[in-house]
Amino acid sequence: MRPTTLFFIILALSGAAYQLGQRRAWNVGKSLGGLKNLHSRPAYYGLLAALWCAIPALIVFAAWQAFETRIITGLVVAALPESVQSLPESRLGLVVNDIRNLVAGNIVSGQIDPAMRQAADRYRSLQAASHAALAVIVLCLGCAGAYAVRRNITLTLKARNHVERVITWGLVLCSTLAIFTTIGIVLSVLYESIRFFKAVPATEFLFGLKWSPQMAIRADQVGSSGAFGAVPVFAGTALISTIAMLVAVPIGLMSAIYLSEYAGRRFRAVAKPLIEILAGIPTVVYGYFAALTVAPVIRRTGSLAGLDVSSESALAAGLVMGVMIIPFVSSLSDDVINAVPQALRDGAYGLGATKSETIRQVVIPAALPGIVGGVLLAVSRAIGETMIVVMAAGLAANLTVNPLQAVTTVTVQIVTLLIGDQEFDSPKTLAAFALGLLLFVVTLILNLIALHVVRTYREQYE
């Protein structure tokens, strides 16, 4: 039985259990002189039966699905001839892949020898056995659950309370998913990073000045030693983010000030959504625009001025990234500026300040913590932004502060190191995870500070 079919059978079964439980509750109720004598409404008995039918079955189903492939593969590999098993891990992986392809009936690379054919047959029979066992176990569990509930439907069964407890646990589970996600991120990035730092010392990674993550495929290859000094990559990220913030902060802040302090209602109703469109445009579109339109314009302007501008200059990527962040800065600042109490403004006007003086000397200082928090969030977004820099910034890790030259960023390196087929034991691939870890930690710190600042600020005026 195919797993998807089985899944739908479980659902159908639990639907049947619902009917069963509900009818049983009706009958029990009637025999005792009406529904009002039952503890809960009949639907709750049905629900309870359905839940008891579906939940254990689905848990077993999911666990089985998650581990089936690994266990079967392990069994098949263990049965392979000694000569194959002693192959290095990567070669063994290829053999396993071939076996799987044989099973699926796909095209297989290379020759099929009888041992492989045998292994594939074994794989297939194990898989069939596993599917059959799963079907039997799951269906038995489902029926048993439904039956147990049906037996217990009596006057004393508090079906509603049971159902509500199950639902509450479901809600708790859903809300903890955020924590599991964070743990998952940390573990997955950390695990590979530790493997990376075994091959490359952390000090070299953090303070080395040369980045060229090319590892040799053969031992005798020229230029085989990769260099993993990430300082140029950090510098490039910092340069592009700085340019982006130089664009986004003044423009975003000034638009927010104008929209919240000067603009009339009608102007605001038109301009604010228009600016927010900028936030809804996918980053890949910005990247395309930066590479296709902005970079050539900057290059041409630069050559008119006699400057040598790289076609993948940091300036183009930074400018466009800045534009992307404008709505982010502007809407966050707009919120905090609006939160500044009117009394402060009235006080300043009363002292004879003009509107701009009030804004500059009263409103902005009062809103500053919130604005700083917003800017920090924007910085974290700039550092983590990927598609614009992948498409418009370079790959070569130059250590420079010249915005007209090509630089590379952390995200660009992660993408280039991980796209395509990679073996999972070379430092080249693992370096991407080390960069990812760093990116996660830095943005995490920025976010936590920003969220804290914004929260305390908000409390101040509430």
């Binding site: 492939t69 690994r70 509603r160 509500e164 509450t168 809600l171 859903c174 809300s175 903890t176 998913l177 955020a178 924590i179 996600t181 964070t182 991120i185 997955s188 990035v189 590979e192 423009i251 802040l253 638009s255 104008y258 929209l259 000067y262 301009a271 228009l274 600016i275 900028l278 809804g280 445009i281 996918p282 980053t283 890949v284 579109v285 990247g287 395309y288 625009f289 296709l292 339109t293 404008i326 003009t354 509107k355 003086e357 804004i359 974290s380 977004r381 983590g384 932004e385 990927t386 598609m387 498409m391 995200t411 992660i414 991980l418 991407a432 990812g436 990116l439 996660f440 976010n447 936590l448």
Partner: protein
């Protein structure tokens, strides 16, 4: 007293002297605000103008009319499906330009039509086998370079801007033009084909299908989970450390760079659980984790906007807490939750970086039909095409962007409409 008035007058004089300057500063400040808004709007306009200006021509494709003789001999010893259709196209071209000879020149002649030109012919013959032996007038797609020339993208002086077409080829195209055998038509291929290395044969169907499957997975998972999490945090959770931890986590995840979710997907879903690479299923899982915080935050806002009197009334007539939440609060908050979900889906639709990590960046020609088929999504397709050197891919990339933006605009408009329609002021 007298002294006091004079100093007051002096102060007034100082203030008055400064007034003009201060008003100038005021005007400058205001102008800076307008300038800032103008700059953002100008950029928005530039972006759209550039995309539309580059992309609108991709909705048309140049076709060339050929007179193809379906030689019965060519079908003599093969089946209809295996006959040499490209050969027939070449023969038709030779017959149309009999004066062309020499291998190099002939190769240039064949390059005028698309390398997939035989495919259309193939389809027509399969549909109507009685056509064999007749002479057909067929419109076949032109090669992408010819297409660009006809659309006027290669104008200007200098050999570079003429594209890759030779003097000879341009002569032939001029002749075709005078014979009315070349024309631009609506580019159906763009909407019905999968990816291709040949721009004139490339389409977005595969990418749109991939995006659709990915979004379905994302929606099916993230909406119920997000709503459940919001319900718990807003209605049931006690105020303690644990709840605080969850909240900090959610707020932080909302600001984690999307590429980090890609790393998670790669390490956990692909390497640990062994799910298939490039599959919409995995893409959907990754995007679910990414959009969940957005949905949870929006759903919580929707829940808080439901007034407490509703809750009290429900509890007062004897509903349990769960009944109060599920029967009364949730239905009232649902429009707001839906709005947040649609906005989250729009973000997921435009997301590229995490999907690159899980291998959705492969070159895939087939249109995916299942959740586990290898596929790509619309933004990744845009990324792939943007990297292609052919000039014709520039306009196709822009056109794909136009399609993507159209989807996003529709989704956001739906969210705005929902909000307007169901928004309640209590």
């Amino acid at each position: 007293m007298n002294k006091h008035t004079s100093s007051q007058a002096g102060a007034m004089a100082v203030v008055r002297r400064g007034m003009a300057k201060r008003y100038r500063a005021e005007r400058r400040f205001k102008a800076m605000g307008i300038l800032a808004i103008g700059a953002s709007l100008l950029f928005l306009a530039l972006l759209f103008a550039s995309i539309v200006g580059n992309g609108y021509s991709a909705f048309q494709q140049t076709y060339i009319q050929l007179e193809v003789f379906l030689d019965p001999e060519a079908f003599a010893d093969t089946s209809l499906a295996a006959a040499d259709y490209p050969g027939m196209i070449k023969q038709a071209l030779r017959r149309m330009f009999p004066d062309v000879s020499g291998r190099g020149d002939l190769r240039q002649l064949y390059a005028v039509v698309s390398s997939g030109a035989g495919f259309d012919l193939h389809q027509r013959v399969l549909q109507g086998p009685q056509l064999v032996g007749q002479t057909l007038q067929v419109w076949v797609p032109a090669d992408d370079d010819v297409d660009m020339l006809v659309k006027g993208h290669f104008r200007g002086d200098g050999a570079q801007s003429e594209g890759r077409l030779s003097e000879l080829q341009r002569g032939w195209i001029d002749r075709l033009k005078t014979e009315n055998r070349i024309e631009k038509r609506f580019n159906r291929t763009f909407f019905t084909a999968g990816d291709s290395r040949e721009p004139e044969l490339a389409g977005i169907r595969g990418a749109v299908a991939g995006s659709f499957f990915t979004l379905v997975v994302t929606l099916v998972l993230s909406f119920p989970i997000g709503v459940a999490a919001a319900l718990y945090l807003e209605e049931f959770a006690p105020q303690n450390r644990w709840t605080d931890l969850i909240e900090v986590n959610i707020n932080n995840l909302a600001a984690v760079p999307s590429i980090v979710f890609g790393l998670l997907g790669l390490a956990v879903f692909l390497n640990f659980f062994g799910l298939p690479r490039s599959a919409p299923l995995v893409g959907g899982l990754v995007l679910t984790l990414m959009t969940l915080p957005t949905i949870i935050i929006a759903s919580r806002a929707a829940l808080t906007s439901v007034p407490p009197s509703i809750r009290e009334a429900a509890l007062g007539i004897g509903a349990s807490k769960m009944q109060m939440v599920l029967h009364h609060v949730l239905p009232l908050a649902l429009p707001g939750m839906l709005t947040g979900t649609i906005i989250g889906m729009a973000r997921a639709l435009g997301e590229t970086a995490p999907l690159l990590m899980i291998g959705m960046v492969a070159f895939i020609v087939d249109v995916p039909g299942r959740l586990t088929d290898p596929s790509t999504v619309l933004p990744v397709q845009i990324y792939l095409w943007a990297d292609s050197p052919e000039r014709a891919f520039v306009e196709r990339t822009s056109a794909a962007i136009m399609i993507l933006l159209a989807f996003l605009i529709v989704m956001n408009a739906a969210a705005v409409y929902l909000r307007k329609k169901f928004e309640k002021r209590w």
